[in-house]
Symmetry: C2
Subunit: 203 residues, 2 copies
DNA sequence: ACAATAAAAACGAACGTTCGTTCAGGAGCT
DNA sequence: AGCTCCTGAACGAACGTTCGTTTTTATTGT
C-alpha cells in the first residue's frame, strides 16, 4: 500500500522526533540520545540517515518551516473585495497560528541557534507561493493606495504576526487595555484605514 | 573617585562578557570558561558573584533588555501632531535598532532558551514607561479612530519592529519590490491612513 | 599613620556528567 | 551472498560546578 521504504520511514521518524523535542525543550537541550529513543532506534542508527545533528535540523527547517503552513491558508481565502479579504485572512492567520503555538519555536530556533543561515533557502521556496497571491489580491475590487502589493503583504504579515506573538508572549502581563476581544479588529481597522480620521469637510 | 567597589566592577565585567559572547555565538555555545576569560578572571571566580550560568543571564536580561533602549527614544520625540509624531518615531525607532543590530539576539535568546520566563518581570518595568507615553500621544492634535491608545502603541511597535527584523533577516533574499528606500514610508502611510483609499463621493 | 584582622574576591585543578560521533559486529531481507 | 539498517559500547572533548587554598581589599584598633 504505502510506497515508503523502511529507510524513509525511519528518516521521517527522526525528523518527527527532533521536531517535537525542539518544541518541548529547544535545540541545544535536545540530545541525539533523546532523538534516537523517541524515533525508536539506537543512538548509532541515526547516523545511517543523517551525518550530524545540525544536518537533521537543516532538513527539518527546509521541510517544515512554519510559513509553509501559513501561506496556503492565506491562499485559500475567498473574497470579492480587498476589505473582506483582509478581514478574513487576518482572522484565519491568527487562528492557524493559534492551533500550532509550537511551530514558532522552530522559526526562532533557526534564527538564534543558526543565525538565520537557512533563511535564504526557505525564502526562495516561499517567494513563488507569495507572488501569485499578491497578484490575486491586486485584482480584487477596492481602491488601494499607491503601494506595491508585496509591501502591503509584508506589512500584513508583520502586523498580524506581531499581534499573535505579543499575545502569546506578553499575554497575561499586558494591561487590560492592550488586549481585549476587539484588539484584532482594531488591528484590521488600522491596516485598512489607518489610525487617523481624515477630516471630511473641515468642521 | 568612583564609588564602585571591586566586586561590583567584576560583576559588571561578567555581565559585559556574557552579553558580547551571546551576541557573537548564542547562549548555549557560550561557556563559563569563555566568560571568565573575557571578564578577566579565573573560572571559579565567577561563582563568587553569580550562583549559576542561568543566573547571569537572568540579571543580564533584567538590566539590559533591548526595550529599555527603545522606549526612551520614543519618549524623546517632540511633535505637535500625531502624524508628525508617528513619522518621526518610526524613523527613529528603526534607526535606533539599526545601530544595535545585536541586541535583538538577547530578546530572542530569552524566548528560545528560557521560554520567555523573564517576560513578566521585564514587562512590569516597561509598563510604567509606556503608560505616560500613551498619555502624551493622546494629547497631540489630530483626530484618531476610536481605538485604545495602548492598542495603537502595540500596533505601532509591532509594525515597525517587524519592518526592521524582516529587513535584517530576509534582506538580501527579498524580491526588490519588497524592499526599497520608500518601504518605510509606505509602512508609515499604512499605519496612518490604511491601505484603502476611501471613496470621496462615489464616482 | 600603621599594623592586625576579618571579609571578599580570585585562583585553578579536579569532579562527575553529558555531549556528538565512531565503529565493529549482528539482524533481516532479497 | 550481499545489502540495508540497526545495535550499543566506547571515545575524547567539553561542559557547569565545587572546593581547598591563596591573594587582595576593606575595616578596625591603636
Amino acid at each position: 500500500m504505502v510506497e515508503e521504504s523502511k529507510g524513509e520511514r525511519t528518516r521521517q521518524a527522526i525528523l518527527d522526533a527532533m521536531y517535537s523535542l525542539i518544541i518541548e525543550q529547544g535545540y541545544a537541550a535536545t540530545s541525539m540520545r533523546q532523538i534516537a529513543q523517541r524515533a525508536g532506534l539506537a543512538l548509532g542508527g541515526i547516523y545511517n540517515h543523517f551525518p550530524s545533528k545540525d544536518d537533521i535540523f537543516s532538513n527539518l527547517i527546509l521541510d517544515r518551516h512554519p510559513f509553509f503552513e501559513i501561506l496556503p491558508v492565506l491562499n485559500s481565502v475567498e473574497a470579492d473585495s480587498i476589505e473582506t479579504y483582509v478581514r478574513t485572512a487576518a482572522q484565519l492567520m491568527v487562528e492557524e497560528m493559534g492551533q500550532h503555538p509550537d511551530f514558532i519555536n522552530l522559526l526562532l530556533t533557526e534564527i538564534v541557534e543558526f543565525k538565520g543561515q537557512h533563511i535564504p533557502q526557505v525564502f526562495n521556496k516561499i517567494v513563488p507561493m507569495v507572488l501569485p497571491l499578491g497578484q490575486r489580491i491586486a485584482n480584487l475590487s477596492g481602491t488601494t493606495r499607491n503601494i506595491p502589493p508585496l509591501v502591503m503583504m509584508r506589512a500584513f504579515m508583520g502586523m498580524f504576526f506581531s499581534y499573535y506573538i505579543t499575545g502569546v508572549l506578553l499575554g497575561p502581563s499586558m494591561p487590560p487595555a492592550m488586549q481585549t476581544e476587539q484588539t484584532l479588529d482594531h488591528f484590521v481597522e488600522i491596516f485598512l484605514h489607518g489610525i487617523l480620521v481624515e477630516k471630511e469637510n473641515g468642521l
